[in-house]
């Protein structure tokens, strides 16, 4: 199982990338050790798990330097799954990382990653050796008026709808113009502007679209998925209790439900605290 297959590792790395972009925006780059050191400080447990997964080779013998292997695997993840642009490699000092056994400080060759927002403006003076390699696509062509970019990507002016919101619909042969307009509350002119933007900038849009799809595919962490099962069980117990309670109220002549003007019976429901109290008084019913 690789890094990309573990949602909690992916989440920690995404947080780390965002932190690197923010912390090193001025100089326009960060290296893999910057990221590793950030993970060491902020997601130490995740970092240790990643390193631990490289402690042994496939043949079962101990790895020579699992931290270096982990660093390289993280670099591969950055390049292939997060499309980080590698500018070059340089020598960087490695700080001691709190693993067992601890690894001493030392120098290592690591990748240098571009921070694209800075590179896009041409401000790359802080790059090692003065390099200014940029793999960024050309500046997107923006139709005047209806499409603008406030940092969320190309977006229909006056709305929060990005072209990435519309792309799945525009690629769907069963989605008619009327449907797209209706579901997104847009005019045909606005949809046409988004379509024109996509057709004029296919590489940029598709590249970002794939990143979005990848982020969505990662989904929830294992902890959330596990908790979801517990939540569902609690929810269903409450729902059943509520239903039984409702029936009892209807069968009791003295009970009166308070109805508002819309016919909603707001008085026939218990509060959650009442339900909790009843659950506590009947522990044998709880699994």
């Amino acid at each position: 199982m690789g890094i990309a297959d573990n949602p909690s590792w992916v989440q920690a790395l995404d947080d780390g990338i965002a932190a690197m972009r923010q912390a090193h925006a001025d100089r326009g780059w960060y290296d893999s050790h910057d990221l590793i050191n950030w993970l060491n400080e902020h997601s130490n447990m995740v970092l240790n798990k990643i390193i631990d997964s490289y402690r042994f080779r496939r043949d079962g013998t101990p790895a020579h330097d699992p931290i270096l292997t982990a660093t390289r695997q993280i670099a591969k993840f950055l390049q292939h799954h997060r499309h980080q642009v590698q500018l070059r490699k340089h020598i960087s000092q490695r700080n001691a990382i709190q693993t067992v056994p601890p690894r001493a400080k030392g120098n290592a060759v690591v990748a240098v990653w571009q921070i694209s927002s800075v590179a896009a403006t041409g401000n790359v003076d802080g790059l090692p050796n003065g390099s200014s390699v940029s793999n960024e696509p050309d500046e997107p062509r923006m139709p005047a008026g209806m499409i603008h970019d406030r940092g969320r990507g190309p977006e229909i002016r006056g709305t929060r709808i990005t072209v990435y919101n519309l792309l799945p619909h525009l690629l769907d042969p069963t989605a008619t113009e009327d449907f797209i307009c209706q579901v997104n509350r847009l005019t045909p002119e606005q949809v046409a502007a988004a379509r024109a933007y996509i057709l004029n900038n296919p590489d940029t849009v598709l590249s970002q679209h794939l990143r979005i799809e990848e982020r969505m595919a990662a989904g929830n962490s294992p902890q959330v998925r596990e908790k979801a099962r517990e939540s569902r069980a609690t929810f269903l117990r409450f729902k059943e209790w509520l239903s039984n309670r409702d029936k009892e109220v209807h069968q009791t002549p003295q009970a009166t439900a308070i109805e508002d003007g819309g016919g909603n019976r707001s008085g026939s429901f218990p509060t959650f605290r009442e339900w909790l109290a009843e659950q506590k008084s009947r522990p044998e019913e709880r699994s």
């Binding site: 406030r150 977006e155 006056g158 990435y164 769907d172 997104n184 509350r185 970002q208 969505m216 929810f235």
Partner: protein, 140 residues
């Protein structure tokens, strides 16, 4: 916590969820019992072009769980960046519809989304999931 605020990019989908799915699944009474409400930008008078950072801040301040679709770049004021630099434990999580297209044609998937949204709102209302920045629905 007041309830759920549907983002502009899922407003139409939310209406279907609220008017058709949740009643059909019989979960509305549970949410009503907790006093939860469902609102749109229009209901709250929020501009349709409010940026992510302002929207997240507003929803946290007013106690709304934001229901959205996350299809945008991670710029400085993007939701992803806002969750990274402003979220603290105790805040309300953001619910993100994982696959809007599938929601539109797959009845079972849509029902799963509705059930999970209801379950999450219930749990968030009683103080759970405050250690999560974002939860994708469906959850599994």
């Amino acid at each position: 916590m007041q309830g759920l605020l549907a983002d502009v990019n899922v407003q139409g989908h939310w209406l279907y969820l609220e008017e058709r799915l949740l009643p059909a699944l019989g979960v509305l009474p549970v949410l009503a019992a907790l006093g939860l409400r469902f609102v749109t930008f229009n209901d709250l008078g929020i501009p349709r072009d409010l940026n992510d950072r302002a929207l997240w801040t507003l929803s946290q301040a007013q106690g709304w769980v934001l229901f959205t679709e996350n299809r945008n770049k991670d710029g400085p004021d993007s939701l992803q960046q806002t969750l990274f630099d402003s979220w603290r434990e105790g805040h309300l999580p953001v619910l993100t519809l994982a696959n809007k297209a599938r929601f539109e044609y797959d009845r079972d998937y849509a029902a799963k989304v509705a059930n999970d949204v209801a379950t999450l709102l219930f749990d968030i209302a009683i103080g759970q999931y405050r250690d999560q920045r974002r939860i994708w629905v469906p959850m599994t």
